[in-house]
């Protein structure tokens, strides 16, 4: 028996390897707009842990800026939308492994990410920020020394702060999603949270008295719809779609509904 153990292990490991490589019928391998329409549904990855841009509503369905944009995608494609919850860390793997047709999930447009996926034209304005209670004296990244700074793993705040952790003595803590990071701030488990421009409004509503405010704007961002590289047909359609909803007032209505702000002029590329 003993002599055979390595063989058994080898088989066990091969099974794991085999399971992960074998082609489980990819659920969202549609490459073109026609294929999506023919399948009869569009599969969209959305974040459901971030106030304003995506939460789970009381009816169990995703609600927020991004889910509403996704619903417009479905409306203009003429097919129902199937939502798949994604996080900052797993949205890219979900896209690359054909689990979703596109990701509409606070996806900040950067050249690094564009090495892996394609972005549509921007459909939203945001920024990577650091938020803390008013009493916390933080004005620059230098003031973060010794503080516990919570960020959603893989989000822009994580990527921007990670290179400075050692030099600035930041205690950077990465949470699996934004909701847990925000909860940690409310619980007092972290001092500063990496989030967006408007989330402090939600924080102040849920935890009144602390007067949460945006302390530092790390980088202004624009969100784009992420698709797999090489899907030129889908990209062209999405850009036309973004152009349309920007100019017919539908995106402005979404912005006013969730951000209580009119839509800013968005750049194009």
């Amino acid at each position: 028996m003993r002599a055979r153990r390595p063989t058994v292990l080898l088989i066990a490991f091969s099974i794991v390897l085999g399971l992960s490589t074998s082609s489980f019928a990819p659920s969202a391998s549609a490459q073109t707009v026609d294929e999506i329409i023919k399948r009869g549904k569009v599969i969209v990855g959305v974040n459901t842990t971030t106030p304003i841009f995506g939460l789970v509503g009381t009816d169990g369905q995703p609600e927020g800026y991004d889910p509403d944009v996704a619903r417009l995608v479905g409306k203009y494609l003429g097919v129902p939308v199937e939502f798949v919850p994604v996080t900052g860390a797993n949205r890219l793997p979900f896209l690359l492994t054909n689990r979703v047709d596109m990701v509409i999930a606070l996806f900040g447009i950067t050249p690094e990410r564009a090495l892996q996926i394609w972005f549509s034209m921007p459909y939203a304005t945001e920024a990577a920020t650091l938020v803390a209670p008013a009493s916390r004296n933080v004005k620059t990244v230098d003031d973060l020394a010794g503080l516990r700074v919570g960020v959603p793993r893989g989000a822009m705040q994580d990527l921007l702060l990670t290179p400075q952790v050692a030099a600035k003595k930041i205690n950077l803590m990465r949470f699996d999603d934004e909701a847990t990071a925000l909860q940690a701030l409310i619980s007092g488990q972290i001092d500063v949270v990496g989030t967006g421009l408007l989330v402090n409004r939600t924080l102040n509503r849920n935890d009144p008295g602390k007067n949460y405010e945006v302390k530092i704007v790390l980088r202004p961002l624009h969100f784009g719809i992420g698709i797999r590289r090489g899907q030129i047909d889908l990209l062209q359609w999405l850009n036309t779609f973004v152009y349309t909803i920007k100019n017919n007032g539908e995106l402005d209505a979404i912005s006013r509904k969730w951000r209580q702000l009119p839509l800013e002029t968005l750049p194009v590329f």
Binding site: F13, N90, L92, G154, R174, S187
Partner: protein, 222 residues
């Protein structure tokens, strides 16, 4: 499949992965040691002659075994600060693991104690053993020996379950892997290596358990 493997970018991060694995190992080993103590205490409480102790142990076991580990982790990390108990992510993870493992171990050890024949205890009393000797040699060791395989697999399970503590920002192996994936998007390569690391850690623990089994129960050549 037209996926191009790029292990190079992942090997650059191997130090971080090993550091994560080290935390997983430490958390697991500590949770196993403390969880066993909690489990033995819980099993004794369940066999206690005092009704309150029995009820308390029973409530603990039922509460923990019938709720998800993830919820327990979140409760310890995000819930306890409300009553003034503030733990770092690593401490919270360890506490949640000990509480969780303790409940399962209680039931396993209790089964072992039940398997000790009453005649054996009576023989011990007849031989004039002290209460401590009776507990140690006549009840505890034979009970642990009887349930050793079940304990071993429960211990392995808690190590594997430790992967969910990444949610409260404890930087164990899975958390490190997630972070690396978020940076270089090489999920396939990273998780493949992580799978291998978990497998290696499981085997290391199993070998340790076997060694402990030999050391503890050598006199019973069973």
């Amino acid at each position: 499949m037209d996926y191009v493997f790029q292990f190079g970018v992942v090997w650059r991060e191997i130090d971080a992965l090993l550091l994560g694995a080290w935390l997983t190992l430490r958390l697991s080993a500590l949770a196993m040691a403390l969880g066993l103590i909690v489990g033995v205490a819980g099993a004794l409480a369940r066999a206690s002659r005092y009704r309150a102790a029995r009820a308390l142990a029973r409530a603990y076991v039922e509460a923990i075994r019938n709720t998800p580990f993830l919820v327990q982790v979140l409760l310890v990390y995000l819930g306890l600060p409300t009553i003034g108990i503030r733990l770092t992510p690593d401490q919270a993870a360890l506490l949640a693991m000990v509480i969780n493992l303790g409940a399962y171990t209680t039931e396993i050890v209790r089964a072992g104690i039940k398997a000790v024949p009453p005649g054996q205890i009576q023989a011990g009393i007849a031989l004039g053993l002290s209460r401590w000797q009776l507990f140690r040699f006549v009840v505890c060791l034979p009970a642990l020996r009887a349930v050793f395989p079940a304990l071993g697999s429960q211990f392995i399970l808690v190590m594997l379950a430790s992967s969910v503590v990444s949610v409260i920002s404890a930087e164990e192996l899975t958390a490190v892997a997630d972070t690396i994936v978020a940076r270089n998007f090489r999920s396939f390569e990273v998780y493949l290596i992580v799978t291998g690391l978990y497998l290696a850690m499981c085997l290391a623990f199993q070998a340790t358990f076997a060694a402990i089994h030999r050391a503890l129960f050598a006199r019973w050549s069973g």
